[in-house]
Symmetry: C2
Subunit: 379 residues, 2 copies
Amino acid sequence: MGNTMLEETAAANAVQVMLDDRSYDILIGRGLIETAGEEIAETVGRGRVAVITDETVAALHLSALSDSLDRAGIVHTVLRVPAGEKSKCFPEFERLCDGILEAKLERGDAIVALGGGVVGDLAGFVASAVRRGMDFIQVPTTLLAQVDSSVGGKTGINSRYGKNLIGAFHQPRLVLADTAVLDSLPIRDFRAGYAEVAKYGLLGDGAFFSWLEANWTGVFNGGPERDEAIARSCKAKADIVAADEREAGRRALLNLGHTFGHALEAAVAYETVRLVHGEGVSIGMMLAHEFSERLGLIEPDTVERVEKHLSEVGLPIGLAQIPGQLPPVDTLMDAIMQDKKVSRGELTFILTRGVGEAFVEKAVDPATVRAFLLEKLEA
Amino acid sequence: MGNTMLEETAAANAVQVMLDDRSYDILIGRGLIETAGEEIAETVGRGRVAVITDETVAALHLSALSDSLDRAGIVHTVLRVPAGEKSKCFPEFERLCDGILEAKLERGDAIVALGGGVVGDLAGFVASAVRRGMDFIQVPTTLLAQVDSSVGGKTGINSRYGKNLIGAFHQPRLVLADTAVLDSLPIRDFRAGYAEVAKYGLLGDGAFFSWLEANWTGVFNGGPERDEAIARSCKAKADIVAADEREAGRRALLNLGHTFGHALEAAVAYETVRLVHGEGVSIGMMLAHEFSERLGLIEPDTVERVEKHLSEVGLPIGLAQIPGQLPPVDTLMDAIMQDKKVSRGELTFILTRGVGEAFVEKAVDPATVRAFLLEKLEA
């Protein structure tokens, strides 16, 4: 079975995101940064380009991208931000907007985001706003950014009142997912991105999850299985986004593991030494499966199967694996209730009826969740 | 003729802006602020509302709007900015975004702009960005805002590199143009807005321009002719915007008088004691007509006819009416060349073949414009 899928991949390393006149391609493959200049020229022409990146990524990958743009005859400016979530802020947004205008980019010129989710979110919001919308190209350099934030058009910065609260929907014109750059990714970050890969299997594609169980070492080692897994993940998200661009219905499935996960990230005050997003999602997905078992929706062996896989790739699967003290249950519940998924006192949760069979449940009783979480905290 | 039009108006004080799923109504009439609460509730429901306004407008009209929202049972917060163009800046953008989040508005709640173009542009950009897009309602309180910025969805703030360079296309859900509030507008501001009203006649509706020649005193005095003129203007812009939302082609006609006008505004360093936008447009429209005559497109009596009308309503019609010294011709030409309308060394200008017959000319020789302007400066 895995073999059939691999044969498909070799030919099909492009995923189309279908959104009418804003449709775009995600190209996936090793070494794509080397040919980025030509791909960009084919998509948006040879106008000026501003590359937005962070210091860490610039040290690793900027010269390859810059050389490629030079070879394609694309004049470009580089704007750098400090690495890390703190750059998703109003002052950096203003500084980048001004930087693009200072570089005299016109409407019709393009902004290229070279980096992970932070750079992509920030640069995308900048691209949406300068001259009321410029062409935007993503060169995501983390697994998480390649399989998650490069699809869907969500861009934004953080406010003092919460993450991603200020932004725009702004679709890229092209995404270049160079899977070789992931070789330089710290293993903890690769694993965290893999949690989202596994999520696509768990939420709607049981066959993909089975394939991951059989082929995950190839994904981690940078074999053709990696490109395959990323393409399948992008395709899964692209299909959901195409059906529901503005997150009215089915797109909520993408939140599998995220309601618990976000609460845990908030519980550790977003201290990434304790928990990064993908780890929160991994634990959150386990909690979603255990909670679904509690509600009689799935059997214990389904929970065990998911736990076995997430555990074998090295992802955390329970609250006990978060270093340090966790806050009391009511603090976690407050975070859950503030996660924009509450309507008339009832919680919206993504639950599941089996591997690949997640669904949106809009009437979850907070008291049941609290009792479940209390038990987990005390375990 | 004027009479027929007036009879139509009494029934039809709503203009529909057709933009697929983002279509909306502009309601036009005296006293609409009194019933704004109910209109808003009918359009977006009775969720929370944030009213964004400036100090000057708040003193005149906020209590009427606030009372109306109270009567409709709409809980609302008021966020004020200083009056004037300087509020269209990054710091106010950030402060307003934070203010809306602090007031705990959710996706699905609405932002109401009560004010002129500055408040509308700024509040619209805020509405586009908070939670990646909230419902937006405009209550424009100047003639210029009622006939121009309330149609088309352009929102934005200024950058140190130029005006309106940062923003979004974000359509309102509803526009309430209360024509009675214009009674409190300083006459100079009313006249400046009227330049844009006349523009709609000049660019594409000769019959409307003739009607204005016959009925302008009613427009100024607040008779039913005022509502009629505003409705016709909104309809004209709405038709153009519906055909060309992103300013690719026909929308450029709306720039009649604006290329010269913007250059003159820049020439006086945007000092509104010397020249406000509508006055620049009025002089710019005269220059566009005189330049069209120079090119043999129209007869001198057409120029005289336009001049007579703009002059009788009290608008400036020539460079000599701008107080103080104007810069040399090359400074004006630099401003014209920077006005985003240059392609491969040739200028795009809106010229005319007669009253109501403007057209886009994409290949105007800058040297011809320079010679024309030099003559006007030396006249």
